[in-house]
Symmetry: D2
Subunit: 461 residues, 4 copies
């Protein structure tokens, strides 16, 4: 793995050859050939961006564009040789290396990138699997997670933490405290793998795991190609998975996690809450235990009150029975989660369901199919009272998903630049509540901000 | 895994439910369904026979028919439940259990049986892969071995031992001594997994590994459906693989092993020697290091002299450069093997070939395609001087393979009963040598014997 | 650890330098100096003999004198160097080496020899500890075992097996079957570490442990300087302890073991039975669970009937409540032992006593003090009815101990040669029973035999 | 380990029973009795204070007095029971517990406290060892470290970091960066185990070790009874050792460490530098490689310049050859250390010296004997030019040691309160330099400060 340090513009860079381990080390000659082909073809640009995100993991800046601009000459090639695969890095960030050797954890994340993109390109490619049915999509999610060696038979202990990537210091410290209390009780952490509320719980849990002498802990980061560049894996992540799209990423969260904690966040977090509640409100899932806790420091109480009001207004009072709001009490959060996960464990045993994958959770096709936020699709969302809560939740989820895209994703931003803000239609009270919620996100600086925020949407009653 | 002991005729039997681990524990719902279907369909009888062989592993009797007759009511079902697969055993041999719990090693072998038969039925089934080309077949062998977790990146140290399953005490003790010397030098052992020369080297190596405090040793048994019932895995085997047919089993041996030792044996052993020499004599493999040692105690010297003469006569003097005969010197065998494997290691490094699978070895289709020993096929073998050595070796290999089938395999025995002995044609000297060799096997009681041996073949000049 | 092979007389020998590990690798400079001094002084001859026994472990011959005669020029030196200890072997048996490297397990046994002899010489030397009181002696036994890293907190699972070193094939195979059944149930084995009944149970357990995939099993051999040369550690022993004398060896057995199985044996075995029953019959130990099973194949039934009669006659009917005789049923032996050890576990938990050392067992000084079998001491034994059973057992134990010495130990044999047979006095019926027992041992060839056996004792009513 | 939470005054407290592991779990009955006695006698108050420091490890406040005042009713008892030792905690800080269970890492530190205080009281007690000779003291240090299981044969990789416990944020962040670079290169860290420069390097190394997937790292904290209360172990420490006094603590540092890094600090740090240079300047140690690097951020450059000037003035120019000053370059620090430790490794190999204990380092008695800073002893220090550098260094070390005591240790503070400031005599230039150095420490707030600092010393030319 020896490398050679060079200077490319301002930033020090390294060229290196790396020989993968952990799943990429025992490939057939044909698999190697297909992997090589895929990495040269359509997958190459994606591979390059994801690899760069991983190689700059832990850098001071969280701005993904910065990485692209700082290392313009970076390239990655997957090459074949008789004994298997070789990865060639050209003009790679020197920060990922020590004395010319790549840092082992970074190398593992890099192998994960190649592994998951290759799996998606080769195993989930056209004709290979049925991605038009509920069970076909769930099998694809299962297959990718198993190939990533995330599915291990073990007692339920995985808490998924959601929340914003740009939260304030007070909130960030709070996520660390919650992670610490979870870690003391033996929980592993799974997040979207970026900074902010995706990093704090891992950091707190890491300290607690060390104090409890728990050395084999899992810090799972689940991302997708559109978001990894913006939310580069934080340095604590030791299992990285790249799902093909945002819907499969959401499914991975709810099939893997034994409980979910939501910290303050922005539109993306609202999308995640609506996704989960949409599922929880289906009759088929009514008896399924699934602890869901919304929590933050005292100063965040108004935030959750607003979310709570919005959920009551849109999904009805019944929705509130599926979550609990706890303000400024990390220990209580951890204790309640422990109780909830105990119920999950008992339920799985009674149902003879696996611990590592929540097969029993019913996820209808409308929550699985990728939503492409065109102006037409956004305008077609049906946000009116009288619909079944889970259907309304599905459309609200899509609305937030579209706004995330308009804010931070390349495709979405380009569309908004070209055609103006998305137009979202619905009942007046719902539209007002939505608008108020979004404005609050802006005021609280929870939306992506560079300069003045110009909304990418218009809410029309 | 609790069971309940019952008495079925004379032999004590047990009913039990077993939940698989090690590869069968993380399956998708669809895979579970396919596995269940396969095990109920055409695979069921095969599964039942293989499972019984494994459950009676280590019994005093090595007669596979005995097992079938002793446990006539034995049955195995693979059932589905949400969390995965359940194996139901009915009227299973009590000897595989301790106080109602299945012995852990036996359970592992049982999972291996289900795993490999399922892989063959599902992954290698019709349309799934290309089994008509050299590379397709090699990929199938690779896939099955990888799925069996046999392929691990590690330094070359796997010695394949071939030889008869009914050798005399003197020869058996010698195989143990050779195994002991190999084990002292850190070699793992791979055999056909039955008794005799397939057990002795493992037993000796096991003692040596214990003395060297080597606790993670591999004792790999590679078998195939037609032979497992006749050569039930000996109790030392801790990795069992069931290849789909005899040709893929032979390919597995030569792609996995870093060197091969041949002890005295019968027709099956002769088949193996001709298979390997046939490959070695191809120009494409001329530069490939592959240590091959023929060895036995002093009393076995005439046996090897006869083999040697036969090989010189049929394949020519050049063949002798690819093997070494060592008589009554276990330590020398081990030292020579160590030297040879060192050369293999250096060659793989130089070629950047993998350590765990011998990709560079050229195996032509004629050595890969299953040979079905009908009377027509046997009569069509072309055993004449003037052919290329590797072609002649291929046909000689088939001749021995047919005789093995006529001796011990159900299909072959039935054919011989119906149509009389196979007729084998060839040049006079070659046919005389072949006949002499086969008669010697009979005299030395190396052929399967119950009562008087009636040859299943006629040699015609 | 490289060595150089030379030939000394007939047997191949090796010179080698070895650097110890496992307890001998972190010594202070002063400890190294003391160890060096001890190994040069009075301890040297003992060290040489014990080391030779270990280096010839597993040889075909079990005759210790043979080893001394075969390797007359063997020597061992413990040398000091800054970083610690170096062991120099001169003219050492080549069988302990592979290609010039010492076999790792043999090296471990060798370090154990140095470790225990050094501990005895340095830590238990004059003035260092109080060896005149019951608690002082028990502390010495504890200290030596702890230093040998034998004491580990773990669930009770250690079965001590006693029995003769020269038993017949039928009996030997039976000890293997019992060991196999014990091993299947997760028991570790502790014996006197020689051949025969000390090897069989380990061998059987070893096979069972492999089948149960139990890789960290303990095969503990406990010996003493007077006996190691005659009962060289069998090759399965992976923990060797050399206690200073026969009484501390017996105490080590009963403090470490969670249950004891007695196979057929000779005078030494009788000594062990009397030692244990003498303890069990004390009121202080009346409530202490301690499973004791006497067992052998069908042909051995008369042997145990005779032992049983002798115990009833001498120690009274009450003694029979402390042992169970099981004939020809290895599985029952293992199941009964499992039940007994379960009771031991519960008792230790209830008493908050440690699992690894039986502190609660009361061992009076008369069982702890070394018995030197002079003619005076033997004549002074008080073998009469009317004494308390445990006192009588103590003297009977001494009588057998003296006969063992007269048979096989250098001191004892010299005394008998010089002064004639020991004279043992006692009540007529007891003396007749003793004589009958001893004659039976002779007839059954359980006494050490080279040529005609000449009794080293006379029984006088 | 279940506990019961109660409220004592303001702070939540817990009562708990704990059963030790890791060295305290296999004790003889006599050892248990001696341990119990010691913990009830003179050792009890010390035990109570040290235990409290450990139980409040990681608390926000670093003020040890605070702990004493916050938990006035805390008590600890070591009790005997048959199976070993039980620790009873009364009114213990609830922060050390999770849901009534003590945090595992805290429990380990607690066992370490009991282990080391017991070893000191029992094994190093009067008459037990010779603490009047150089070799006797070194053996005591060795014995205590071995008993603490710190001495492990492994490649040299232990870097000792010295520096102040109250450094500024800039300096603290720098120590983390240096620790990070050391951790990336596989170094373990040993410090005085408190906050500031004793915590930062561990914290940085911890992050780096996680990135390098290095799970068995050692974070060793070495303290002594007078300082532990003031410098409670930081939460990363996973090996805690309590040496009996400051001189043995210093000896432990230099015998264990393979290199030393000094960050900015106060009088204590100056004491440590002088101790080490005093040793390095002895002829006997002239050829001993021992990397010593003084480093800090750019703002700390003047600090090191002043130290450098003082060392040149007092010990002469030759002293500067034994250390290197690196400003604001963490990577260079780590690279230079790696080079230095490589030389240490080669030297040890060449000398056949152990890797885990620096036996070759000559430490004369004057550096080993405890210095009790009475006014007489302080006045008697001989701080004049013309003395041998190592002798002068010894007295300068004592001068700083006395000032530390006058500043923060109970005995020293009481003496200064009663008799006024210590008077230190010496050559004018040396006294001026000393005074300037100490004043600078005050100005830079490196001396312990509550309110206005009143010097505990007067420098007299």
């Amino acid at each position: 793995m020896a490398g050679e340090i060079k200077a490319s513009r301002a930033m020090p860079v390294v060229n290196a050859r790396i020989y993968p381990r952990g799943g990429l080390d025992v490939l057939s000659r044909e698999e190697v050939a297909r992997l090589k082909d895929a990495s040269h073809g359509g997958m190459h640009d994606l591979l390059r961006r994801c690899a760069l995100a991983v190689l700059t993991s832990g850098s001071a800046s969280d701005d993904p564009r910065a990485a692209q601009e700082l290392y313009p000459d970076f390239d990655i090639q997957v090459l074949q040789q008789d004994r298997g695969v070789r990865i060639e890095l050209v003009n790679a960030p020197a920060m990922a290396f020590v004395d010319g050797e790549i840092i082992r954890g970074i190398a593992e994340l890099l192998f994960a990138v190649v592994r998951d993109l290759a799996y998606t390109a080769i195993e989930l490619g056209e004709d290979a699997v049925d991605l038009e049915t509920t069970s076909g999509i769930t099998d694809a999610v299962f297959g990718l997670l198993r190939n990533a060696r995330i599915l291990q038979p073990a007692d339920p202990n995985l808490v998924v933490c959601w929340g914003g990537h740009s939260i304030n210091r007070d909130e960030y410290d709070y996520t660390k405290l919650v992670g610490y209390e979870l870690g003391l009780r033996g929980f592993d952490i799974c997040t979207g793998c970026g900074p902010g509320a995706m990093k704090g719980p891992m950091k707190g849990a890491n300290v607690a795991h060390a104090k409890q002498r728990r050395y084999q802990s899992r810090y799972i980061g689940i991302t997708e190609p559109g978001i990894i560049a913006a939310e580069s894996p934080n340095p604590i992540v030791n299992h990285l998975v790249i799902m093909p799209d945002i819907e499969k990423r959401l499914e991975a969260f709810v099939r893997l996690g034994h409980g979910i904690i939501v910290f303050p966040g922005g539109v993306g977090t609202a999308e995640e809450i609506l996704y989960l509640l949409g599922l929880m409100l289906r009759e088929e899932n009514a008896d399924l235990p699934f602890p869901l806790i919304l929590t933050g420091p005292t100063a965040s109480a108004p935030y959750f009150e607003q979310i709570d009001r919005f959920l009551r207004l849109t999904l009805g009072e019944a929705a509130t029975s599926r979550y609990e709001i706890i303000i400024s009490d990390p220990e209580k959060v951890a204790r309640r989660m422990a109780e909830g996960v105990k119920r999950v464990r008992e339920h799985r045993l009674a149902q003879q369901d696996s611990f590592y994958f929540n097969w029993s959770l019913e996820i209808p096709l409308e929550f699985q199919q990728p939503f492409v936020p065109t102006h037409e699709a956004m305008a077609a969302l049906d946000l009116h009272h009288g619909r079944k809560p889970h259907q309304l939740a599905a459309d609200l989820r899509r609305a937030f998903s579209g706004i995330v895209a308009g804010n931070v994703k390349e495709d979405g931003m380009r569309r908004v630049e070209e055609f103006g803000p998305f137009q979202i239609h619905g009942d007046t009270d719902m539209m007002q509540a939505l608008d108020a919620l979004l404005r609050a996100f802006v005021e609280q600086r929870r939306m992506k901000i560079s300069g003045q925020y110009r909304p990418c949407y218009e809410v029309l009653a």
